[in-house]
Each structure stands twice: as C-alpha cells, then as structure tokens.
C-alpha cells in the first residue's frame, strides 16, 4: 500500500465509511495517471467536511469507487479574501489564479476595465487551475471563479463592509506595509478584495469610482512596475501575513 500522495477535491459529502464514485476525469487521474490500485490510500476534501483519508475500493474502465475512512483535519474557518483582477494573457492569468489559490483566496473575480486588452476568459479552465492548486497546497476549500464583470458592476455589487485593497500604480498611495499597519484591528480583520488593474492602469474615471468605495485602502507595492500576477501574489501574501498575526 502506498503512502497517500494523491489529494483530491470532491463535491460529495464525506463521513466515515462514506462510499463515493469519482467522476470520469478524477477516476482517470487516480487509476491511470497516479496508478493507484484497490486498497491504496488517498486524501479527500470537499470544502465542508474537513480532510479525509480514503482508500480505493474498486476500479472500473472509467470509474473509481472510494471509501472515506478517517478524518485527518476538521474543516476550519478561513480568511475571506478575494482577488479581483483585470484579465491578462492566458499563461499569466493561469499563474495569477494558481498563486491566488495557493494563497487562500475564496474567490477569483475577473474585472474588465477600459484598458483591458484581453477580452476572453475561460472560467472553466481557471476553475480547474484553482482546484489543482488547492489540491496541491493542502487547503481545505477551492476558490470560486466568477464570470468576468465590468469594474462598475463589480464595485456596485461589492458588499460595502468588504475591504478593497487597491493596488494603486500611480504612486499616490502609501506603501502597503505602512497602510496595513495603520489600520485599527477591526478595520483589518474583515473580508477583503484585492484589486489589480490592467496593464496601463485604471483610467481617471475608474480611479474616481474605486476611491468612492467605502472601505477602499489604496496601497503602493513599491518602486517597480510589477506584472499583474506578481502584484497579485505580493499583495495577497502581505495581506494574508497580516491576517495570520495573532
């Protein structure tokens, strides 16, 4: 019996002795790619019931039956941080979503701005990227991926109590570390959305719109012009590191 190295997100409920059939794609991955056989162990999570050790109970041509055995970790509360970013070229958007999923975001929201050059977003593919990153990094949930929304619609639908960490490229905002340090505890410990603009930045009307959000915190990420996926990773890393402090 192999030590569990396969970690899968599933949709079904998990409890001791629960039997589940993997969907054909997951069955292929377990039986053919990972080469697990009957009796081998793997790890399952579903975003609700914690993390479970499970074993392969049966393998068919395009199916795989799994039995959940023991809970390894209970479901735990997560910080509620979104990434909202203007779509970029495919490989870099994939990297952005992968990094955001590794850094614990609960939602990826593509935001279309006036200077957004990339119009097509494959939400299904980004969701697969997010799921694989969540499986790999050990978190207990998978982020949602929203359909692209205009900046106006995104801001209009944003819960006014959610903080908006605006990565402002203009140089007019304070350094991110100082800005976060300056927040009172109740203003830090809330839900957040990190907002990343397009190549070329937000235009003047968009900047006014963003600045009008009740809980906006404009921050400067440093003297260099960062690519979107770098800016997203840095901003999420810094925010989560602050939220992880006791």
């Amino acid at each position: 019996m192999k030590v569990a190295k396969v970690r899968l997100f599933v949709e079904t409920s998990l409890s001791g002795g629960a039997m589940l059939d993997l969907d054909p794609a997951a069955a292929h991955r377990v039986a053919t790619v990972m080469r697990l056989g009957v009796g081998d162990s793997l790890v399952l999570f579903n975003g609700r019931d914690g993390e479970w050790r499970a074993t392969v109970a049966g393998i068919g041509r395009r199916s795989c039956a799994i039995v959940a055995r023991d809970m390894l970790r209970p479901q735990a509360a997560e910080t509620d941080v979104w990434i909202a970013a203007a779509p970029i070229k495919r490989a870099r958007m994939t990297a952005l979503v992968e990094k955001a999923a590794e850094l614990g975001v609960t939602r990826v929201q593509p935001v279309v701005t006036r200077r957004t050059a990339v119009s097509r977003v494959n939400v299904g593919r980004l969701l697969s990227t997010a799921r694989e990153a969540a499986e790999q990094c050990g978190r207990l949930s998978v982020p949602a991926v929203g359909a692209p929304a205009t900046l106006e619609r995104f801001l209009g639908s944003l819960d006014p109590s959610r903080g908006l960490l605006w990565c402002d490229e203009s140089g007019g905002s304070p350094p991110v570390a100082a800005a976060l340090d300056g927040l009172r505890e109740p203003d830090l410990r809330r839900s957040w959305a990190v907002l990343i603009g397009p190549e070329g930045g937000f235009d003047r009307a968009e900047r006014t719109l963003i600045a009008g959000h009740g809980r906006v915190l404009g921050v400067d990420l440093g003297p260099w012009l960062l690519r979107s996926e770098t800016a997203a990773t840095v901003a999420l890393g810094i925010l989560q590191s602050r939220l992880a402090m006791p």
Copy 2:
C-alpha cells in the same frame, strides 16, 4: 517619432552624447522586433549611470548605433536582497527568477540541497530572464545570477552580517509578519538573503546548518504548502515592503 517604449540594459557607460553600438541580439530586437528607425527614442540603463533617453542614430544589417541624450533618473541606492533557492523545473524556475528580478533582488543564487531533484541550471538563460524582467519593470540594475552552489558552500561563503530570511516549511518558525515586526531597526535594515528550500524541504542536517548562521530569521509563510516560486515572491514582497517603510 514614437514615444519610447523600448527599455534596454546595456553594458557600456552612459553620458550625454555618448554613442554606443548595440550587440547583435539587442540590435535585432530594436530594429526588427520593436521596429524602431533612425531618430526614434528608447530608454537605456546600465546599473551604474542612471536611466537615459537615447535615440537611434543608425541601423545596419546586424548592428544599431544609439546616442544617449538626457538623463531621466539618476542611479539610486537599492536594497541589497538576494534570493537563494533550490532549483526547480524549468518553467517554474524561470517564473521564480522573473518575479525575483521584478522585486528588486541584487543576486539570484541557485542552491543545491540533498532533496533537490533538478540538477541542471542554465545560468545564461536565467540571466536573460532576469535582464528582461529588469528592463520591463523599470529598475535601474540587473541582478547577478550565481552558478549553482551546495547549501554548505553557499552558507559558508555568506557574509556573516547578511541576514538570512529562511522560509521554514516545518511549522516551527513564527509567522513572517510577526518575525519581521519583532526585529530592531538595525537588524531589519541590513543586507538579506531569502532562502527557499526544495520540494520536500531541507533535511535535518541542513536545518541544523541553516540554524547555525549568525543572522538567521526562520519564518512561516502561512498554513499552505506554497510552490517555490510562490514562496519566493511572497517572502521577497513582504521583506521589500518592510524595507520600503520610512
């Protein structure tokens, strides 16, 4: 005449009226890829003499002559931060170097550890990646890229006054934000090397070796198992954001 969108690192000295011949690769990029013609503007930097507006003075079959015109920005002091990381697969190593260069590292040092699975490192290719990222992000220098060194040799040759920000995956180190907040100003404002281990982490003997460095600061990057390039980006982003604070 086009607005300057081409930004090039050159080796030669820069001063008002200085004439320089681009190497064939740079000449190809300027004349053929970017399609600049005689009289068009571009931006040059060399890591010593600041940033200069320049114009194309002549284009040959495999050559391009440039004249430096006006200094746009003087050379400024940079934070001295290295990234030292166990080599990973090619595409992810490229991403790691690109992000590190965007985040202002002065040196990229591949470090070979016992659990390092990737043995081949193309230093020349990584240097090209670093140069392109530096050109793109607007910094005034290009990081050096070291030849791979064993962890023992790397630590043995490290200046004892350089801080070692060790991204410790074991869970035994304090959260990175708290660890950096806990430093006294003179202990924060020094040269640093950020150390990232291989997939699977450092082994026990290596951990002892690292812990023996005089200026080591072990930090925990959060509850998730981050890929190397994500960990490097987050750690560099957090450290530089602290160093950027007044």
